[in-house]
């Protein structure tokens, strides 16, 4: 399927995207959000908000963009995805399950005693996970190394906004731009909240895309919950030949559950049974895109 849309007005987008594709992706996103909520409820673990904000980006990547094979997770020359914001692991685990990399029962082993999945992304646990993360500011440098190792291979890295406080992120940004690595694609889950305040109050990143551009990256900004726009934009990469690409995705922490949206509390809390039911009800009602 070829997309030619440059402006991402939702109505125009819906016309161009196969309507079946569109509803399929949104229903996948809803299913993933439910899995995230169930996992955090069952384990008493958290980082719910940050997982929910990244879901639509992950759905787009795993169902429309990444050249990966769930039947053969280590297939040669596959695209690589690195979840650098490792605390959003529940979103990745749930997406990999939806995509067929692992059975859904594996999610029952999230963050419980004698379990199967840690509370940060860990290599060697679920098939499809390429790199362990959990300490912020590591994934981009690792992705940069992979992109240097094989310039024909596409490396995708998802960063958190708070993560961009880390100096190591900027070392990698400078070097990737310097090398002109157009096989390196970064998405920033810009949900505007970090663990102890708003991004604006703690360490303002703006003018954010200008910073990337000044380091020789091709930058675009997008509504990170508009799946149509995400599909279109990530279907034509690199954004500019000879330059690494960054997609700054404006998102909402806790997206999809009204009482979790834009709240730092849900960086730390896990939903109880009542909250889980309420959240499920909201997700069933909503058209998220």
């Amino acid at each position: 399927m070829v997309f030619t849309i440059l402006r991402y007005n939702r109505n125009v987008c819906a016309l161009r995207l196969n309507i079946m594709d569109y509803s399929d992706l949104t229903s996948k996103a809803t299913a993933i959000r439910k899995r995230i909520l169930s996992m955090t409820n069952a384990s008493g673990s958290s980082h719910v908000g940050t997982a929910l904000s990244s879901v639509d980006i992950l759905v787009t990547l795993y169902f429309r963009v990444l050249r990966v094979d769930p039947k053969n997770p280590l297939k040669k020359n596959r695209d690589i995805f690195i979840m650098s914001k490792g605390h959003g692991c529940t979103a990745l685990y749930a997406t990999l399950v939806e995509r067929g990399f692992a059975k859904s029962e594996m999610l029952d082993g999230f963050a419980v005693d004698n379990g199967l999945l840690w509370g940060h992304v860990t290599y060697g646990t679920m098939p499809g996970i390429e790199v362990s993360t959990g300490s912020l500011g590591h994934g981009l440098s690792i992705g940069l190394g992979m992109a240097l190792a094989d310039r024909k291979r596409r490396i995708f890295v998802l960063l958190g906004d708070g993560e961009c406080d880390e100096g190591s992120v900027w070392e990698a940004i400078l070097f990737a731009g310097h090398c002109g690595l157009d096989n390196l694609i970064v998405m920033v889950d810009y949900n505007k909240l970090q663990s102890f305040g708003t991004v604006k109050n703690v360490l303002d990143l703006e003018p954010f895309s200008d910073k990337w551009k000044s380091a020789k990256w091709a930058a675009k900004e997008i509504d990170g919950h508009d799946i149509c726009a995400l599909v279109n934009t990530l279907s034509s990469i690199p954004f500019q030949k000879g330059h690494p690409s960054v997609l700054i995705a404006h998102t909402i922490k806790g997206k999809g559950v009204s009482f979790m949206e834009n709240s730092i509390d849900w960086h730390y809390k896990s939903p109880n049974r009542e909250q889980l039911n309420k959240a499920f009800g909201e997700l069933d009602e909503k058209d998220l895109c």
């Binding site: 999945l117 940060h120 860990t122 959990g134 993560e163 406080d165 305040g197 360490l203 960086h267």
Partner: protein
């Protein structure tokens, strides 16, 4: 422990206008009272630990009394060279606090486990290394921290650690506290969040007619070597820590014993293996599979005395 930490900071902030507290974007539902009362004495530097340590050195060189705070690996290992060069090389009394001692962060996994911090901080020239047993020891260690003239590391727990003491103890940096003294059958030298386990084990052993001692080695560096020598000369000696077997309390005690040519009746270090945690679980589960529970320690000691 974190509540005690912020209460002490509140006390210091009014007594010392030059007090500065730096956080690497952590401390939600911990630092709010401090920020409210002393907004100019708190800086959230963002998730940027290397910068945080560099800033702390600059502040200390400018006469400020500085505390820095993050989760253990992020306040110690992440900014290690800044600690070595900016803080230790200048011998600055910066107080580095690591929260989430040992395996406290449980299911969050090895990225968040603080299991090599004592070894690495011990190796930093001029660094004082402490691991208080409970909120009472922490309060005394924080008081002592206001009068230090070299860098200091303070390893604290996550939130609700059981009390070892019932009142504030006397505490001097570098002098261990003998918190239980019923006989000479054994000595358990423990630190930080394992002191409570050591105490429970000793009480259980006493019920089995084995009477020994429990020592809270709250200061791992400088180590109370005089006490270690006295104990190791006469009784089976065990160390207990929620830290890698390499380089922590057990290593420090073993070095002291070797350096003084002591041959203890028996010596064993209870600690974590030299490995990342493979099996997933919460804090208590991880302690259990690493044999750091009261019952397992009692069994091991019984076999050796």
């Amino acid at each position: 422990m974190r509540k005690t930490f912020v209460n002490s900071l509140l006390k210091f902030a009014s007594a010392y206008p030059e007090l500065m507290v730096l956080s690497g974007d952590l401390g939600y539902s911990v630092f709010e009272p401090l920020i409210e009362k002393f907004p100019n004495q708190f800086i959230n530097v963002g998730i940027a630990e290397q910068n945080m340590i560099g800033i702390s050195a600059g502040l200390a060189l400018s006469g400020k009394k500085v505390f820095v705070y993050s989760i253990t690996p992020f306040s110690t290992i992440r900014p290690l060279e800044q600690i070595r060069m900016d803080v230790c090389y200048h011998n600055l009394p910066v107080r580095i606090v690591g929260t989430g001692a040992g395996l406290s962060y449980g299911t969050l996994g090895p990225s968040h486990h603080g299991t090599e911090d004592l070894a690495i901080m011990r190796a930093m020239p001029t660094m004082i290394v402490t691991a208080p047993a409970d909120r009472f020891e922490l309060e005394k260690i924080l008081d002592a921290a206001m009068n230090i003239s070299s860098p200091m590391y303070i390893r604290i727990g996550r939130s609700t650690e059981p009390d070892v003491y019932s009142v504030l103890p006397a505490l001097e940096l570098g002098k261990a506290n003998v918190i239980y003294d019923e006989g000479d059958d054994f000595a358990i030298i423990a630190c930080g969040n394992m002191v409570h386990t050591a105490l429970c084990a000793a009480k259980k052993l006493q019920a089995l007619s084995k009477k020994g001692k429990v020592i809270s080695m709250h200061t791992i560096k400088p180590l109370d070597c005089d006490l270690v020598v006295t104990l190791a000369k006469t009784m089976p000696t065990f160390t207990l820590e929620e830290h890698s077997i390499i380089g922590g309390l057990g290593s420090a005690v073993a070095e002291c014993i070797a350096d003084n040519c002591i041959s203890p009746p028996y010596f064993e270090r209870f600690a974590l293996k030299d490995a990342f945690q493979k099996k997933i679980g919460k804090h208590d589960y991880l302690r259990d599979i690493n044999d750091l529970t009261v019952d397992k320690i009692v069994d091991k000691i019984l076999k050796r005395i």
